[in-house]
């Protein structure tokens, strides 16, 4: 339902899914599941809990690291043959490409992919766990609802028209998430428009690269808008009703993949695959949505309260305005030029 026509679907070279019962038996003899993930603990916890409801015997240990460290730690440990992660979760497409090249992911296919868009499988054993829409957060005390821009075009126009009111925050392009978002923007809007918008936004934008720092600026009121904010904002802003809100950009909402892969050197491959299988099950999708991750299942119906899903996104943003940034070499290749354009606009 969601997903533009140009979603990359690399032919899968992975083996067919193993039967769940076999995996469960193998997992019983394994020593728990080790996950390196770029996910804040508090968001991931509902997912783990739901998994453990099904597989109480499998002890899941999630180490929260930033994107780079997820790979660096795994690769160093794997090279030395030490016990390391069985499953990796990270968002940076460029680093996934590098990881594929280094043979990090194991060629594993989860069961139940039929119910998902084909792009969930990025090939080489890398799967999109959640496709997170980059969105715009705003301060509800500083901007009346009518003043909140819903398109990049409007955002750029507002920035020019009232720079005092539209003080903005965002990531710097050096942030992998931000780069992925801009890659998507270029794809949807074309380079010329993206560049002109960037040029308009640069003078009113301050950048924060750590975590969700920019959200705080919006909440505190030093900025009225955070654009190109991560999809996790949906969950983070839940407790700030009346102070801040978020909208999806109608003209272009890039989806940045948070991908997962079972590792080649996994000590608990069966447990890892069970977890992967779980992610692509109904229960798993509900848990992801609850945690604030974007559920991607076709025809997903969220249970009470949770909004993070592509089905609900589809009701808010036209399909042609969304685009999932793929995990492939093209993303790596365009990084220098897109970064340079951004830097030029920001005088860096």
């Amino acid at each position: 339902s969601t997903g533009s026509s140009s979603i990359t679907t690399t032919a899968s070279s992975a083996s067919p899914p193993a039967p769940t019962a076999t995996l469960a038996r193998q997992a019983a003899s394994e020593k728990g599941l080790v996950v390196y993930a770029n996910v804040p603990n508090q968001y991931f916890q509902p997912v783990i809990a739901a998994f453990n409801k099904q597989y109480p015997a499998i002890k899941v240990q999630v180490t929260t690291l930033d994107d780079k460290t997820v790979f660096a730690k795994y690769e160093a440990e794997a090279a030395q043959g030490a016990r390391t992660a069985d499953l990796l979760v990270a968002s940076a497409p460029a680093q996934w490409v590098e990881a594929e090249r280094n043979g990090v992911p194991a060629p594993v296919t989860p069961a139940g992919l039929d119910a998902f868009p084909s792009w969930v499988n990025q090939g080489h054993g890398v799967y999109v766990m959640s496709a997170e829409p980059m969105l715009l957060g705003y301060n509800a005390k500083l901007l009346r609802p009518s003043e909140v821009p819903h398109t990049w075009a409007q955002l750029a126009a507002d920035a020019k028209a009232d720079p005092a009111k539209y003080r903005m925050v965002s990531y710097p392009i050096s942030n992998t998430l931000d780069y992925a978002g801009f890659y998507g923007l270029h794809h949807i809007l074309g380079s010329a428009r993206t560049q002109s918008y960037t040029a308009a936004l640069a003078p009113v934008t301050k950048t924060y690269s750590e975590g969700l720092d920019q959200l705080n600026q919006v909440l505190q009121g030093s900025a009225s808008i955070a654009y190109m904010a991560t999809g996790l904002t949906q969950a983070a802003l839940r407790q700030y009703k009346g102070i801040a809100g978020y909208v999806f950009m109608q003209d272009a909402t890039p989806l940045v993949p948070r991908a997962a892969a079972v590792t080649a050197k996994a000590a608990s491959p069966a447990s890892a695959q069970l977890f992967l299988d779980f992610l692509y099950s109904e229960a798993g999708q509900q848990a992801l949505c609850r945690g604030g991750f974007e559920a991607t299942m076709n025809g997903f119906r969220p249970q009470a309260g949770c909004t993070a899903s592509l089905t609900s996104l589809a009701t808010q943003v036209p399909a042609k305005s969304t685009y999932l940034v793929p995990i492939d070499q093209a993303v790596l290749d365009r990084q220098p030029s897109i970064t340079a354009q951004w830097n030029k606009a920001f005088h860096r």
Partner: protein, 572 residues
């Protein structure tokens, strides 16, 4: 800071305790050198140490020097380091003089309060400062939005310099104060009877005599500024200002290839710079005899310098300084932990919430991280202090052949950014320790944290040791005690106040430190600093503030107990 080698002619010809001394020396040197081995090695390889197929290469260094961003980062770091050091040393010295040598009203209370920035956990202090004085900080917003006044920018180099100076000022303050306490005040009296007024006395007598102490803390603070990561990472980001450490960290975390050699090369260059600093200091302090007061038989408490009509203004200024730098950010933290968001747009009482504390309380990792952190802070703190104490005794009170290596070795853990030291530890654990002996448990984190902060324990213990006369050891030997017995029954008991102070210092630091364990932490072995960092990365600062307040409360409790103990120790 005062690693001045007291030339101890404690000329005992042979040391029967040399086995024990060897064990401790090798342990200390090994712990310090351990993480540096893979770092230095990998800086000369084309691939990370743990990957097969690397060749010798200077590529890392070449990449570094070719990068204009590196040069900018170096320039920024130097600007910051020079500014911070100058401010901290000048401020610390001035405050120490005012609080010990003049009739400033309230000087005793100030003496304690000035130490506050060193007992608030570093991340907490940053959160507190950004919440109050940052871009979106409460006071900043109040002034700019509500009163339309021009405001400062905490994220600029001057802004970070001021913050850096506040953080490091206690180091200068402590060093200078303890030196002042040890110098004969009759030197100042002599100047006054020669006709010099209070200002002249300070300018021409007190300050010049403090040169060695000032030199020591200048070198230490400068070195700390070179490796500092938290400030550029959290404050410098919005203005796109990188320092040495944050440049390395960011280029590392954005690079496609695993562990590029230029990160190690950057760390190695920093090591070289700090070594040079140590050499320069040794050179400069060569003529230190000129600053040691001759036959210091202290002339008792004399009349303090009279500040005259500046008494009250000076006192008020210091009060404001303490309020602005410590009290307000601390209150900000407390307030933050009880509101949904600290903003000038909505009155705080409309935002009251217990959610932050609830989130903190229900976080399953939190209880573990509190107990783990307490364990490391208490156990690790005690073990490090014990190790450093014995190492300092070997370095300054023995004839052990390797003793000259120990004092400089103890300075190095603070010579590179904690994150990179942590990386070194990770590699060392990975490659050189059997199995996952320490890599996968709390031990590994504890060791990394402790080693990184050995320097702090040393700079607290060393000056006190230097003040204990050699004759006290000799009297012990003459009584028939060997080296170890003298250490155990005479020197260590006499060092008790310093050991306790070092322990408290270590405790506070270990409780809040995080950068060396970024690589090492894993579920089940969380520590407070990392938990805080992770809450931060969710973008919601309320729980971070709650954690920081929690840390301050724990530290305050420990200080209270330690203060009691210290008083009892002093009585003995």
């Amino acid at each position: 800071m005062t690693a001045v080698d007291t030339p101890v002619a404690a000329g005992r010809p042979r040391a029967p305790a040399s086995v024990g001394q060897a064990v401790v020396s090798v342990l200390v040197i090994g712990l310090v050198v351990g993480p540096f081995v893979p770092l230095v090695y990998s800086s000369f390889r084309s691939k990370p140490v743990y990957l097969p197929g690397g060749v010798f290469s200077l590529g890392g260094y070449r990449t570094l020097f070719a990068d204009p961003a590196y040069r900018t980062a170096v320039k920024n770091t130097l600007l910051f380091a020079v500014g911070t050091t100058a401010l901290a040393v000048a401020g610390g010295t001035l405050l120490a003089i005012l609080c010990t040598r003049t009739n400033l009203p309230g000087r005793r209370a100030y003496g304690l309060l000035l130490m506050a920035p060193s007992v608030i956990p570093p991340l907490g202090l940053i959160v507190g400062w950004t919440a109050i004085y940052g871009q979106g900080g409460y006071v900043t917003q109040l002034l700019s939005r509500n009163l339309h006044l021009p405001v400062w920018n905490l994220s600029s180099i001057p802004g970070m310099t001021v913050f850096g100076a506040v953080v490091t000022l206690p180091v200068a303050y402590l060093t200078v104060r303890s030196t002042l306490a040890g110098t004969d005040s009759s030197l100042e009296d002599a100047a006054r009877s020669a006709g010099a007024g209070p200002l002249r006395v300070i300018g021409r007598i007190t300050l010049p005599m403090l040169r060695p102490a000032i030199l020591n803390c200048t070198v230490l603070i400068f070195a700390l500024c070179l490796e500092i990561l938290g400030i550029p990472l959290f404050l410098g980001g919005p203005s796109n200002i990188d320092f040495y450490a944050s440049f390395l960290y960011r280029s590392w975390s954005n690079s496609g290839t695993p562990d590029p050699p230029f990160v190690s090369a950057g760390a190695v260059l920093l090591l070289v710079v700090v070594s040079l600093l140590l050499v320069v200091r040794a050179r400069l302090s060569g003529a230190e005899q000129r600053f040691v007061t001759v036959g210091a038989r202290s002339g008792g408490v004399h009349r303090p310098l009279d500040l005259g009509r500046w008494r009250r203004p000076a006192s008020a200024a210091i009060g404001v300084f303490i309020a602005v730098t410590s009290v307000v950010p601390l209150l900000g933290l407390v307030l933050m932990s009880f509101v949904r968001v600290l903003t000038t747009l909505v009155a705080p009482w409309h935002l009251m919430t217990s959610d932050n504390w609830h989130a903190v309380a229900t976080d399953p990792a939190l209880r573990r991280s509190i107990t783990d952190s307490l364990l490391i802070a208490v156990g690790g703190g005690a073990a490090s202090v014990a190790l450093v104490a014995v190492a300092a005794l070997i370095a300054h009170r023995s004839r052990f052949p390797l003793r000259r290596l120990i004092a400089p070795a103890l300075m190095y853990p603070r010579a590179v950014p904690g994150v990179i030291l942590g990386m070194g530890f990770f590699w060392t654990y990975l490659m050189f320790t059997p199995g996952s002996l320490v890599r996968n448990n709390l031990w590994g984190e504890a060791i990394a944290l402790c080693v990184r902060n050995l320097t702090l324990a040393y700079v607290v213990i060393q000056p006190s040791l230097a003040r204990i006369g050699v004759e006290l050891d000799r009297a012990g030997h003459a009584a028939g005690a060997g080296w170890w017995t003298v250490a155990r029954r005479i020197l260590l008991p006499m060092l008790r106040p310093a050991l306790l102070a070092a322990f408290v210092f270590m405790f506070v630091t270990l409780l809040g430190d995080y950068d060396p364990v970024v690589f090492l932490q894993k579920p089940g072995t969380e520590i407070l600093g990392v938990t805080m960092l992770q809450h931060w990365s969710t973008g919601v600062q309320g729980p971070v503030a709650a954690l920081a307040v929690l840390q301050v409360v724990i530290v305050a409790a420990v200080l209270l107990v330690a203060g009691r103990a210290l008083r009892r120790v002093d009585h003995a």
